[in-house]
Symmetry: C2
Subunit: 307 residues, 2 copies
């Protein structure tokens, strides 16, 4: 069976940094990325990146290209299209699928860099909507829905910020939230309440997204059980961040906020498993710089263990 | 009296990153750097930097220029030639000297990014040696001392690695250490013992560095009190890292290893004082990437406090 000293799961900035540093420190490593390219969430950043010290990038794709080239220049060991199915922490193996074939590789240490993404509603029609490409940015896509109607689902900063941006672009916005209490900062709530083209619906759940070829309506259910249908042209689901830690659930300690507990080297409660980047970072603290720093630090610490 | 929300002390990678992120997040900030340029320890890196993800740099100066330009492009607020003399944690003020004038500025939060440097012997003649520019790199300056004699002082990895590099460049090396026990890894010790042009002197202290215009000899004192003079052409002091935290000594908790205690946001035991970068990082874990990540994370956390 194949063996690596350090198995890195996930090829976003944190994983790439861990791989670069493993290579730099002479550590036998392998990075597994499920997509056909490195970069992780960078691929989705539309706006200019001005806050990664030393590298201004026009957008996420531009930074993705620079980081990918860096890893390639150093001959980091990466497998693309490699979906990890299971991490066996007792046997210290990773089972993954690549090109329809299953493979099992032994590791000495595992660095989980599997990132985070939008939490989904998990209601009928949502997957189809996303597969059709109806996954819009409130920052850049507002003009598409000028004088049309959009639903923004959620009660936090990102939901309110999205609703305000869309309203400012001339969109009629329904902000829909399942309770009456909002996590968003008060100035966002005040501002949203002042806008005549934002209607806030509380105690309301979205139970389906409807439309065959594009979104045409959503099904709502109020707390009292009353069901209704709201005609909308787009749905922006902004209900928070989902960290991709299913592979280690029950295998490492997770705190009440849903964050993997790590020390400053990235070590989890299982001393063979490390976590870096957005998979273990509270979203207000997440940044490309922080992810890259965490990847570097974990690799440096592992180098000291592997001497 | 002038006031800033976030005062950053030190303009190396950690401080620059904190400033870039303060600017990015709209935080009122000021960075004080005692030298006439930003970059900190980068200025001393002679070799290629291949391990900062996204930015290959020919040497430290090249990276220094890129980071300086980044801070300038964003109009980060920095004062150069500004030496901090005192941090008053009760009054929340920083007193600094610039162009011969004293200035006092109030802060709400302070980010200490004052870095680290070589620990010095603090013996007569050492300061003069450094002021004359006799501060050599074992990696790049070995050829200067081929067939000559150099003293390497210290017992850790860097002392042994330096001695081996110099010996390989044809230098006659005395490795001088104050005790008989070495912190260096065993393979370095074995290798050094195998080299005929490395002589190891233990239980020996260097008490003076002699020479009027250049180093000509060092004064040694053995544990039994015996004093001697050793003719050398260069002295490489490799006795470890000194973290520049004098300004906050007694004001924040410092652990038994001599590291400022911080949480993952950089917060010290004083909730108004944060530390980032090499001033609070164990040297095996230190990297430009880690420093930059820590600067970004502290600024993001401060943004959440300053809402």
């Amino acid at each position: 069976m194949q063996y690596v000293d350090v198995m890195i799961v996930g090829g976003g900035p944190a994983g790439i940094s861990a791989a670069i540093w493993c290579k730099r420190l002479g550590i036998d490593h392998l990075l597994l990325e499920k997509k056909n390219e490195l970069g992780g969430q960078l691929a989705k950043i539309q706006n200019e990146i001005i806050d990664y010290p030393g590298l201004y990038a026009e957008n996420g794709q531009a930074m993705q290209m620079v980081l990918t080239k860096h890893a390639a220049k150093l001959n980091c060991n990466c497998k693309l299209n490699a979906t990890v199915l299971k991490i066996d922490e007792a046997q210290k193996t990773v089972t993954f699928e690549q090109d329809g074939k299953l493979e099992v590789i032994h590791f000495r240490y595992l660095v989980l860099a599997s990132g985070a993404g939008q939490r989904r509603l998990e209601v009928p029609g949502e997957r189809e909507m996303l597969q059709r490409g109806e996954d819009y940015s409130a920052t850049t896509d507002g003009q598409l829905f000028k004088n049309k109607t959009a639903a923004v689902v959620g009660g936090g900063d990102r939901a309110f910020e999205g609703a305000i941006l869309l309203a400012d672009a001339g969109v009629n916005v329904f902000l829909i939230h399942r309770t009456q209490s909002f996590k968003a900062r008060s100035e966002f709530i005040t501002l949203a309440n002042q806008k005549s083209n934002i209607k806030i619906l509380t105690d309301t759940k979205v139970t389906a997204i409807n439309g065959d070829h594009r979104v045409t309506s959503i099904t709502l259910v109020k707390d009292d059980g009353e069901s209704s249908c709201l005609m909308v042209d787009a749905v922006f689901v902004r209900i928070g961040i989902k960290r991709n830690y299913e592979l280690v659930e029950g295998k490492v300690a997770i705190d009440p906020q849903g964050l993997i507990v790590t020390d400053q080297t990235g070590k989890t409660s299982n001393s063979s498993i490390f976590a870096v980047g957005d998979v273990c970072t509270d979203s207000p603290l997440s940044s490309i710089a922080a992810s890259v720093g965490q990847g570097a630090t974990a690799a440096k610490f592992l180098a000291s263990l592997l001497v």
